[in-house]
Amino acid sequence: MVGKARLKEIAELALSAARADQTEVLINAQDAALTRFAANTIHQNVSETDISVRIRSITGKRVGVASSNDIREASILKLVQKAERIASYQQENQSIAPLPEPQAIPEVDAYAEPTAACSPARRAESVGMVLQASRDNELIASGALSTDVQETLIANSKGVLAYHCGTLADMMTVIMSDDSSGYGAGTAQNIDDLDTNAVGRIAMDKALKSKHPTAIDPGPYTVILEEDAVATMLFFLGYLGFSGLAVQEGRSFMSGHIGEKLAGDNITIWDDGMDPRTVAIPFDFEGVPKQKTLLMENGVARNAVYDSFTAAREPGRSSTGHALPLPNTTGPIPINLVMQSGELSKEELIASTERGIFVTRFHYVNPVHPVKAILTGMTRDGTFLIENGKIAKPLKNLRFTQSILDALSHATLSSQQTTVKLGFGNLAACVPAAKVEGFQFTGATEF
């Protein structure tokens, strides 16, 4: 861990050397370690110490960006000059928004010393217990246990100074037999709160129960989607539709439909960077505090998220604190998504299903038609037939091609929300499980 004082020193050095009208310094530092296992042994065990400094220089209507991971004084000074030189080459860009003014930023306690201090031996011990249980059951385990310390500091020439330090411990595993697999995962700020054995048990239980799967014809089915599958759908809603840039460019399902009913009455979705059930960070990559933003309320499209660039394109609009490092072509995105829960437990959702398919998670999901929010992907690591309110037998995996908005128009949500970390940086969502009527399976595979 580098610490706020040293990161601030680097930022001040850069800002004091800057000659541009406006300058922004974005610093990310990380100490990351990951123990990866497969075929019941540790096969990749890695650690990384890195720090990156990114300078954004704005002179008039010209902007330039340069980054480096060399933090020696002379290198920082050269980096500032490089960003300013790049800006000077540019034509004027009338759409450039000024850098944000300072705002009060709440603090989030996201650091846990046990995670930061976790040794390779402790990770190996935790992994070892999952591997042993897997061997004892004649199964094969694979997965990863990671412990990260991440620091972010953003400062600009208008006086913004934002610093955050967070830790994250994350475990995921796929446990397999010859013809089955099961999945388990867990995330915690403090590794002492991460029950790695429970993660392994859930995966092992599914691997054992999904042995000898049978094929089922594709078609529309009632499905019970576990939280991981719901989180994947929610991530794509955020990526495809809840970005202010996507709305402005007419490629969002919300473009021209704000205030209209797009999903069921029970669907309420918001983004909250302060919610500890997601990977909380109180500000965005411009140092703007994250606002809790209501995206969909009782099925009605309410708001998108904005950064300073997209906000400046609409009169009266201000940033909601959802910027990625600017400038970029991706636009702002929500990365702390929460979906309102329902009233029935997951078990009650299953019990209420006469015939349906239970889905543990999805694999390799991608948009087919972004404006209609149609996705395709496969089921994976625990797919089961439900008959008469009970898990009846394991199934071979299926391909779905389905509009998420249509799915959320026919969904019943479970009462318990779970944090799901998605495989993209620190993206995490807090979601319930869901029962969806008429979910479209369009193909099947051989296992």
Binding site: T35, A38, A39, N40, T41, I42, H43, Q44, N45, V46, S47, E48, T49, D50, S52, G64, V65, S67, S68, N69, K82, I86, Y89, Q90, N93, P120, A121, R123, A124, G128, L131, Q132, S142, A144, M176, S181, E249, G250, R251, P327, N328, T329, H363, Y364, N366, P367, V368, H369, V371, T376, M378, R380, N397, R399, T401, G423, T442, A444, T445, E446
Partner: protein, 486 residues
């Protein structure tokens, strides 16, 4: 660099490593994007550091840092050994990496024009010209043209005596245009979708693909797609253009032949493979005309390099010969493992271990996995097709975790009726099962149509790694394919 590499290897061995290697890597990236007439991004990124990989107590360890100095070398080298010894606490067997690889060499990407010496002004002029051409077409909502350049210098040294210096240069470019209607957004890309087409080449690559000269056609197609009818849903004959076929090869051949996936070491994340070892040399992957080669030596290919990140020379390997599956992409460790069940398998790795920078451990990655050309022209292929669909340029992709069931969508498609190109259709998709699909391949265009397409965004591994891969393809025809699923 030798003072650092020798120090790192000595310290690793002194701490108990039986094998160690170090990679010192610098990457310089230049990225430029012009969007709707303004320069949206213009950045120079510099990244430098080193990674040390060791075997100690029969297990792997890896540690890395961005600070190259004697003290940090000492710390990181010792840390790699400590991590390896932790790995060994739960090992089932000792790591074996086969016979030693000892090479002392220098490799540099051949190029005509150093892209980092071309002025930003010239690059911006080229992108702005393409942008203007595209937005000159009525109905275009967004035009986004971009260039990207990479210079990667890396030094590899190992306790087996290797010392290899490489300089890899890449150049890439692309334009994507979008037209928007009510509830509909259509896009066209040139030369390829998802950002850009890229190769190991200099700025001559940018000139060759002539972005301004092709932007207008892409824009006109995007606008026309808005009013085109939906792709019909049926089982029919499918012709794929080179870029779409490149992704088909990537997903349904390139990934399942990665021997680490076959042995389960990617099972939890990317998945495994249907091409299990009992199929090695004994499985019909495709029809008699399907020949697939993996190589790191095709000039200009995005998967072209001198040595992989284990210090093994880049080379060429038959993967599918006359439809039969005959080869994997291997590492030193996985090649050794394969020989335990297949004693006639090659003793040495075929050199496909690559790492995404200094702070990642090398894993098996595709180099240039290419479908070899056939013997007809595209006109002949279409004239010989009574009823079918011609699909161009990828828009959507998905495949299961053993690489069997896939579904792709393309930006553009045309019906084929009685040997002629018919009407344009939109939102085209097709789906299938890998061996059946390749078994239905009955025609491949000749070498005049063949090009190595660059895929600069292949994800794999934990922590995540992005690889740059190449895929040589010419348009090909497939019988009895389900199309038009939405």
């Amino acid at each position: 660099m030798r003072e650092y590499t020798e120090r790192a290897l000595d310290i690793a061995q002194g701490n108990g490593a039986t094998y160690a290697d170090i990679r010192i890597v610098r990457r310089e990236n230049q990225n430029i994007t012009v969007k709707n007439g303004v320069v949206q991004t213009l950045s120079l990124d510099d990244d430098f550091g080193f990674g040390i990989r060791v075997i100690a107590d029969g297990a792997w360890g890896f540690a890395s840092s961005n600070r190259l100095n004697p003290e940090e070398i000492e710390r990181v080298s010792a840390q790699a050994v400590t991590i390896a010894k932790a790995s060994a606490l739960v090992k089932e067997h000792d790591v074996e990496i086969g016979p030693p690889e000892t090479h002392i060499d220098v490799y540099k990407t051949p190029f005509e024009i150093d892209p980092f010496e071309v002025s930003l002004e010239d690059k911006l002029d080229e992108l702005s010209a393409a942008d203007k051409e595209a937005r000159g077409v009525a109905g275009i909502a967004v035009a986004e043209s971009s260039m990207g350049f990479l210079r990667e210098t890396k030094t590899f040294a190992s306790t087996e005596g290797s010392y290899i210096e490489q300089e890899l240069i890449e150049s890439g470019l692309g334009i994507v245009v979008r037209a928007v209607g009510e509830g509909e957004m259509q896009q066209r890309s040139y030369p390829n979708s998802f950002g850009r087409h890229q190769g190991t080449a200099g700025y001559e690559f940018v000139k060759q693909w002539d972005l301004p000269g092709n932007a207008r056609q892409a824009a006109e197609e995007a606008v026309a797609l808005l009013s085109a009818p939906q792709c019909p849903s049926k089982t029919t004959t499918l012709i794929l253009d080179g870029p779409q076929l490149a992704l088909q090869v990537h997903e349904s051949c390139g990934h399942p032949i990665e021997l680490d996936r076959v042995f389960g070491t990617e099972a939890a994340y990317a998945g495994t493979s249907f091409l299990t070892t009992e199929k090695y040399g004994a499985f019909r992957y495709g029809s008699e005309i399907v020949n697939i080669v993996a190589d790191a030596v095709t000039p200009g290919g995005l998967g072209t390099y001198g040595y992989d990140d284990e210090g093994v020379p880049g080379q060429s390997t038959d993967i599918v010969k006359k439809g039969m599956f005959v080869g994997y992409l291997t590492s030193r460790e996985s090649a050794s493992q394969l020989r335990k069940t297949h004693p006639n398998a090659p003793e040495r790795s075929n050199g496909t271990m690559r790492a995404d920078g200094w702070n990642r451990v090398p894993i098996i990655r595709m180099n240039n996995v290419s479908l070899m050309p056939g013997d007809c022209t595209l006109d002949e292929m279409i004239a010989d097709t009574k009823d079918g669909i011609y699909m161009l340029t990828n828009k959507s992709w998905s495949i299961d975790d053993k690489r069997l069931n896939f579904q792709f969508g393309t930006e553009l498609a045309y019906e084929i009726k009685d040997g002629k190109i018919g009407q344009m259709v939109k939102n085209a998709t097709y789906t299938g099962i890998t061996p059946q699909f390749w078994g239905g391949c009955d025609a491949i265009c000749n070498a005049d149509h063949w090009n190595v397409w660059g895929t600069p965004n292949c994800g794999k591994g934990q922590p995540g790694q992005t690889a740059h891969t190449g895929h040589g393809t010419a348009p090909a025809r497939f019988r009895n394919v389900q199309v038009g699923l939405m």
